[in-house]
Amino acid sequence: MTTTIPHSGGAVDLDGVASPLGVSGPSRTDPRGRTLWRAVFRQPLAALSIGYLLLVVLAAITADYLAPYDPSDVDLNQILSGPTAGHWLGTDSLGRDVLSRLMFGGRLSMAHAAIAVATFLLIGVSWGLIAGFFGGWANRVFTWLIDVIIAIPALVVLLVVLSVFDGDMTIAMVALGILAAPGFARVVRGVTLGVREELYVSAARVFGIPNRHIVVKHILPRVAGPILVHASLFAGGALLIDAGLAYLGFGPQPPTPTWGGMIIEASAVVSRQPWLLVPPGVTLGLATLALALLGDAIRDAGAERTGRAPARGSRPGPSGSMRSSTASRPARAQATDALLSVRDVSISLSLDGRQVQVVAGVDLDIRAGETVGLVGESGCGKSVLGSAILGLLPAAGKVTSGSIVYDGIDLASSGPRTMQGLRGSGIALIAQDPIAGLDPVYTAGQQVDELVRRHQGGSRKAVRARSLDLLNDVRLPDPIGVAGRYPHELSGGMAQRVAIAMALAGEPSLLIADEPTTALDVTVQSEILQLLRRLQRDRGMAIMLITHDWGVVAEMCQRAHVMYAGHIVESCSASEMFDHPSHPYTLGLLGSMPRRSLPGRPLPAIPGVVPTPGSWPGGCHFAPRCDFAMPECTEAPIPMLDAGAGHGVRCIRYEDIRGSSR
């Protein structure tokens, strides 16, 4: 109760409803649909909370029959007794039974909270839905009103109401609901706005489905979660405020029992019988606690149900089966002049609480000054491999076998300190989303400065001069102007150039470029690719280019590796890859390009879907989708075979396939 009213002014977003506790049950995925409530009940804390709340409500309802004493029965022979067999929770300063008073007291307290919650829901939901769904001037008026009302000090206004209406708690609770509703309406509006923008709502509109139906069937179910969460938390807040007001002397007067009133009675005799503080305080506290926990559980259940559960931290789980291909790996000589040499690397990540292998027995070499492409579709493990080289796997991810040798050091087995020393100055990174890759609160110049200072040091002036040199090197038209801009003032192409300048600050000898142009328009893409090629030529820097785009591979790479389901399935020079693809997956992926097909004709697509990590088939990972598959393909892991002239293929029928491809 430190804050005025829970959620009267919280800045709360769509799924991240503010809540006092982020504890949640383990996430489970249930293939069948189920109701929100069932998902809530599955969480033990939530079930316990609901149980407690039911108990309190039932106790209040049945107080007439079940309470051991009349709440106003005075027994001056037994005052301040403390818990006894006759009075389980003791007696107060007039010898009245505390348990009975608690049971009767709950009636008023909960009725008051219910009034407040009903008002809160009625106003908040309707207001929020209307403003969110219909937008326009309704929304504009709403925003102004909310800005005004949300700043009202609610509790003090409640005092005015109580003063004017002579302590009428019903009116006070309605007022409380009204005062808290705008903050809540803002949340409802936010969620509604979000859902309204969802494409399935647009699709419903295209069908001419009436607004009423869209609101009831599409919007409300999505808003229901946040509504329940907030109603639950507010109910707790209303209970506390009701008790607080009773403590201050408002509301029902003695001898009528209320929870707040019992606390004030206890405070009068606190020096003689401190125990009396415990029953009302704990009952009230537990009720609020239960409501808060319930709110959390509803939020978690909602997140889980819509498949948008927030990424929960690493959780140790049983190791997934390691179907490693180490046994059959033919020894391939390590290129002696390799700058980076990856040997038999397997990586596992924690997915849905399970440790799952995502990269299996990968070999690859990058020589100084060379551009090597790593091609594959999403989920094949190419980006994970890039992260592993930089030592930036997510918390529960680890390299389970193999070595990553850079400059004579095995990165896979060296500590974080070695890795930290290498990042930026040995190996650097540019990533897919350049704007998200820059810190929004610093200017481009400040961010380049930081890395220059880190890697090269020097006076403030020297650092800035060097930064401007770098921004000039990446061909930004106005380096000084750009240095003064914040990331949100940059276009995607400019931001990617700034990111490249930052990556160059430590003069790395290897640049890992993870889909560096995927988020950019083609015209900007070609400029960035040109820039990368020029920088590489001038600096002799090697590039490991992670991409899904064959065009980018053809433009940039000397060598290419194709990845499928954790394996490198084919490795060779880029020209060989395009001219003589020897793995059926490479063949299929090249064939999927509309450019290599006649317009309007069916593309030679690969049937089926990519298996998810953890459900890879035995033997060749591609066999179930392969037109060339034979029984042998699924019997044992297929090793990388040497197809001559530095061409490696993980396929036993590569000769037939090479023959079939022109």
Partner: protein, 318 residues
């Protein structure tokens, strides 16, 4: 940014007018008016001697139209004069001014302590995680669930009544004895801090974790930025944007908390004044407190907006 501040100022003025008008309108809805209260027939049952009542109404200006009354009050209020309460005979402005230092000490210290401890614990648990995070979770839940006046009573029973370490009630102005002033505030401020600290820490931690999971953190780390810089220069700086809003809300929230805490520890502050005035049907005083309170809220929001804009370049430039 200027537009934002201008907009805020307009809203602020509107708000203060709205609140003061609201209290005026509410008065007319009340079953009994000030005149009845003074004559001791405030309840619905008691009947007033009509002539005496009308005379008093006239004397107090209550027989004039509401807007005229409001205009008179407003024009006085703009000069800082909130009038004299006909019920208690107190000068409203000076009554509030004399109570302000108590509440200000309580709330400012409470905010500082809560924010300081909360942010430190929040950052630590974001970086270290693990057990500390869970402790913060549980404590923040308790801080939300336990009524702060109850907590205050428990502390009082423990530290003052049982252990006798600290004064149970009362307030000593700082110019009388700084030491006693501090002693008299330890329990009230401590209660406010304990009730709010963990919740604050949790929100700080959540926004720190949010910042730390951003793409730019990965990008900076990949290119060699130091961990220290990533945590403090980047993550904390970004997390500070929501944290500032939280400090503003905390500050405003503690004024409400003070209503209860001042009553428990018998501190002669604004909150206690408001409660006593409310119980005594002394509307002019309540109205005065509401207006002063609203001004504080409005000023706080303005400061928060300015700091927010200063921290967040996206807002700053526009």
């Amino acid at each position: 940014m200027m537009r934002l501040v201008a907009r805020r100022l307009i809203i602020s003025v509107a708000l203060v007018l709205f609140i003061s008008l609201l209290t005026f309108v509410l008065q007319t809805l009340a079953p009994g008016d000030v005149a009845r209260t003074i004559l001791g027939c405030g309840g619905q049952t008691a009947s007033c001697p009509e002539q005496q009542y009308q005379a008093l109404r006239h004397e107090l200006g209550l027989d004039q139209p509401l807007m005229v009354q409001y205009w008179q009050w407003l024009s006085q209020a703009l000069t800082g004069d909130l009038g004299v309460s006909p019920v208690s005979g107190l000068d409203v402005s000076s009554a509030i001014l004399s109570r302000l230092p108590v509440t200000a000490s309580l709330v400012l210290l409470g905010t500082a302590a809560t924010a300081l401890v909360g942010v430190s614990v929040g950052v630590l648990s974001a970086v270290r995680g693990g057990r500390l995070g869970r402790v913060v979770d549980v404590l923040s839940l308790l801080g939300f669930a336990l009524p702060n006046f109850w907590l205050a009573l428990v502390f009082m029973a423990l530290f003052s009544v049982t252990l006798g370490l600290l004064p149970a009630t009362g307030y000593v102005p700082i110019d009388v004895s700084p030491r006693d002033w501090a002693l008299s505030l330890i329990l009230p401020v401590g209660t406010l801090m304990l009730a709010g600290m963990a919740g604050f820490a949790k929100q700080t931690r959540d926004s720190m974790l949010e910042s730390l999971s951003q793409e730019y953190v990965r990008f900076l780390r990949a290119n060699g930025a130091s961990e220290l810089s990533i945590v403090f220069r980047h993550a904390l700086r970004n997390a500070a944007i929501p944290v500032v809003t939280m400090v503003g809300m905390l500050f405003v929230g503690l004024f409400s908390g003070a209503l209860f805490i001042e009553s428990v520890f018998a501190l002669p502050g604004m909150g206690r004044l408001a409660v006593q005035a409310t119980l005594g049907h002394d509307l002019p005083i309540v109205q005065g407190v509401v207006v002063v309170f609203t001004l504080i809220v409005v000023a706080t929001n303005l400061v928060v907006d300015l700091v927010y804009g200063w921290l967040n370049p996206k807002v700053r430039v526009t």
